[in-house]
């Protein structure tokens, strides 16, 4: 299935783009992150949370095909 991944703030600095769509099997969030670590090794040094369909999820959440977002530390206000 195709998954759109959105990158923000310092994460987008590492990936050098704000979003991309990749083809990925419907496995777990952790497997997608492992895939991204290979593609963007510098991500391993970054702290981020993961959202699927705008809700925070854990590594053990199953991918649904909904939008994934990598969210660096929040800085509102």
């Amino acid at each position: 299935m195709n998954i759109t991944i959105k990158y923000f703030g310092q994460i987008a600095e590492v990936t050098k783009q704000t979003n991309e769509t990749i083809s990925f099997p419907n496995h777990l969030v952790s497997e997608l992150i492992e895939h991204l670590y290979v593609k963007y090794p510098e991500l391993k040094n970054k702290s981020f949370k993961i959202a699927q369909n705008q809700e925070l999820v854990s590594n053990s959440t199953k991918l649904t095909g909904g939008d994934i977002a990598l969210l660096p530390p929040f800085a509102g206000g």
Partner: protein, 147 residues
């Protein structure tokens, strides 16, 4: 779709003091209100390793952020006796000394607005996906982290 049903909290650039003043004036017709409380977040010119921050450039995961603001608003109305509530957050560049967050709560009585305002601001800091690039005077930058 989920992302279209929420009010847009974001404003491009700094929040002008005139806008804040007009917001207050608009409430003069709502005469059940006996107490307003306002929080204004202002960009601080922190000095880090001898370099001064001149501005913060805000970005956000806007759809998710507006959904979170909506949830914060709903929860605050459930928890506190509020007549109305307004939240505005900047996107883009806000210079040191300018306002980047405006939260305005109103109630018949004062005790509710003190509690509500703190609750809302703390939740915005913790739960809303807004990101801040702190720009130094020499055009280098670092990323702001709420604590």
């Amino acid at each position: 779709m989920k992302e279209h049903k929420h009010k847009n909290v974001f404003k491009q650039g700094a929040i002008p003091s005139e806008f804040i003043g007009e917001s207050i004036a608009k409430h003069q017709t709502k005469t059940s209100i006996g107490a307003h409380n306002i929080f204004l977040g202002q960009v601080r010119a922190d000095v880090i390793d001898g370099k001064t921050i001149t501005a913060i450039e805000y970005t956000a995961y806007e759809d998710m952020a507006n959904a979170k603001f909506h949830d914060i608003r709903e929860t605050a109305f459930e928890k506190f006796n509020l007549t109305c509530m307004h939240i505005y957050h900047s996107l883009g560049t806000v210079k040191a000394g300018e306002i980047c967050l405006f939260v305005f709560v109103s109630s018949p009585r004062r005790k509710e607005v003190f509690k509500a305002l703190e609750y809302i601001v703390e939740r915005i800091k913790a739960d809303v996906p807004v990101f801040g690039k702190e720009i130094f005077e020499d055009d280098t930058h670092q990323w702001k982290v709420n604590n």
